[in-house]
Amino acid sequence: MDTLVVHLLNALLYASVMFLIAGGLSLIYGVMRIVNLAHGNLYAFGAYVSAWAVGRVLGSGTEASPWLYALLPLGAVAAAGLGAVLEPTLLRPLYRRAEEYQLLITFGLLLILEDLMRLIWGPYPLQVSALYEGLGSLTFGESIYPTYNLLVILIGGLAAAGLWAFVYRTQFGVVLRATSQNMRMASALGVNVNRVYVQAFTLGCFMAGLGGAVIVPQQGAVLGMGVDALILAFVVVVIGGLGSLEGALIGALMVGVVREAGITFFPEIELAVLYLMAAVVLLIRPAGILGRA
């Protein structure tokens, strides 16, 4: 029973981080119809910035004071800032071109960002496990569980709720959804589409960066983490439906459960099962579980 709870919590932990990454990817696709292959690198960028900032303040000490946790969101802000620069400079010239070129330029961006992180932070992983250990762990029954993981799950849940409120309950959300449904019509009604695009892209990058920022105390920041995360995020959005936030949530939960089950019961084919899941969903429902065609 206790182990089941631990497994469920682990699944929720994966799902929270996956939702933050995939939700951003899906939001960007939904509004701008661009699949950003560099999205995983923005997640990694968030992780690196947070780890770097915390590491600078922490110095050689290992005692995690509470306000160090307040530095973590810095990664999300940095990723958002990077996104706000990238969209107008690199992506905007390409909206009128075939989508092959959009994929290619984001692939080029992936290569550049990957090495940029190596250039800035070096080839070795950055660790801030002091923050992870600083919160201790909870004991229930015979199992112990790290408190920090619960915090990540909480942030994932809050992010999902906040995003939902943002998209469905605010003026900006209305404009966002209108642009997503019909860009030309929204433009004709006076929406500044360029501005909406840059805002949506920035928000998507913020979520990816937040995903990296919250997971870095647990996993550290390593090169290549972005590329791996991107493929899992693809699995999530393909299952849930490209462009659908609710779909990203469902997809993230499914991927979280399957990953946790996979690591426990079928570690050799865990990844293969995830990719096959995506392929099967595409075959049965090409637009995903909640996607619009």
């Binding site: 699949v35 292959l37 690199l90 010239p93 390409l94 071109r97 989508e99 092959e100 070129y101 994929l103 290619l104 330029i105 692939f107 080029g108 961006l109 992936l110 290569l111 550049i112 960002l113 990957e114 090495d115 940029l116 190596r118 250039l119 590329v227 493929i231 693809f234 699995v235 393909v238 490209l242 570690p267 050799e268 084919i269 865990e270 990844l271 293969a272 990719y275 096959l276 995506a278 392929a279 595409l282 075959l283 090409p286």
Partner: protein, 324 residues
């Protein structure tokens, strides 16, 4: 149509002669490097049958390259054969089988969904190669010895590097020429014209009686086989096959060099693959930040030279080879 092949022959014959003379002029290292380029060019030819002629952007062609390469490694490991002809046959069968299966699933889709589905399927192979280490060697990969050529009549001898830079180079060149000729015939056949019709307007193609899915599937399999041949030829050069060549970023490189050369032309991908190979080798040799170099080239290329090298040269009328 009659003028175009003659014009192509007029400049491709000297190029071919130069390629044959090359090992006697340049240092062996350069010849081996060019062998890699020619191998990638075969993959690019296959890849471009889908992208340039059928209008499908695959982000999963690493699967067929890897199928060819791992087929060779398995032939060595389980059958104990070391003949290059057996390697090629195995590569063709393996990549053809994988492409036939994956193609069945993929050809119903176009655009971004086609790209993601091909990518997801190739990642299945990657994760299997990565995890089933007792079969595939995991991330260490599998070693492949230098093969014998032409049914065992040409052997490696004492100097492996000399073998690779001369006999094996000519072997690769011969296979390359055959592949170019076969692909030229394919894209100029009625079948090739039907693919271009599908690319330009799927609905109209269907109305004039082209069975769109069926044609796409056949193109998919042919494309996979060409890429698999490239994978089989690549392994002896590299001496080792690792899961890296199955990873989707390798597919990304294939897209990269096809666009670099120009995917709207027949010869563009060949030029792109060879230039990409030099570019990558040079970048890897001179900086640890070679990925950034490649990325910047790609970004500039997309923004400034979307038609690719050959496409741009052709637009300015320097080499008026009109293809398709």
């Amino acid at each position: 149509m009659t003028a175009a092949p003659r014009r192509v022959l007029a400049w491709s014959a000297p190029v071919l002669l130069a390629l044959i003379a090359l090992p006697f002029v340049v240092p062996p290292y350069q010849t081996v490097l060019l062998s890699y380029g020619l191998v990638l060019a075969i993959a690019a030819l296959g890849f471009n049958l889908l992208l340039g002629y059928t209008g499908l952007l695959s982000f999963g062609h690493s699967a067929y390259f890897g199928a060819g390469a791992y087929a060779v490694a398995f032939i060595v490991k389980y059958l104990g054969l070391e003949s290059m002809e057996a390697f090629l046959l195995g590569g063709i069968l393996a990549s053809g089988a994988v492409a036939a299966l994956f193609g069945l699933l993929c050809v119903r889709y176009t655009k971004i969904f086609f790209g993601i589905l091909t990518m997801a399927l190739s990642q299945v192979l990657w994760s299997l190669a990565f995890k089933f280490f007792w079969v595939t060697g995991g991330s260490d990969g599998l070693r492949v010895p230098t093969p014998t050529l032409l049914g065992g009549t040409v052997r490696v001898g004492s100097d492996k590097f000399e073998f690779l830079s001369h006999r094996y180079y000519f072997y690769v060149l011969a296979v390359f020429v055959v592949c170019v000729a076969v692909m030229w015939i394919i894209v100029h056949s009625p079948f090739g014209k039907a693919l271009q019709a599908i690319r330009d307007n799927e609905t109209r193609a269907e109305f004039v009686g082209v069975q769109v899915w069926h044609y796409r599937w056949v193109a998919f399999v042919i494309s996979g086989i060409f890429t698999g041949v490239a994978g089989a030829l690549w392994v002896p050069l590299n001496g080792l096959t690792t899961p890296d060549i199955l990873h989707w970023t390798f597919s990304g490189k294939m897209v990269f060099f096809t666009v670099l050369g120009g995917f709207q032309t027949f010869f563009g991908p060949i030029v792109g693959a060879i230039i990409f190979n030099y570019l990558e080798t040079y970048a890897v040799g001179h900086t640890v930040y070679w990925q950034m170099v490649l990325g910047i080239v790609l970004v500039v290329l997309v923004l400034v030279l979307p038609a690719g090298i050959v496409g741009t040269v052709r637009r300015f009328g320097l080499r008026p080879v009109k293809v398709s």
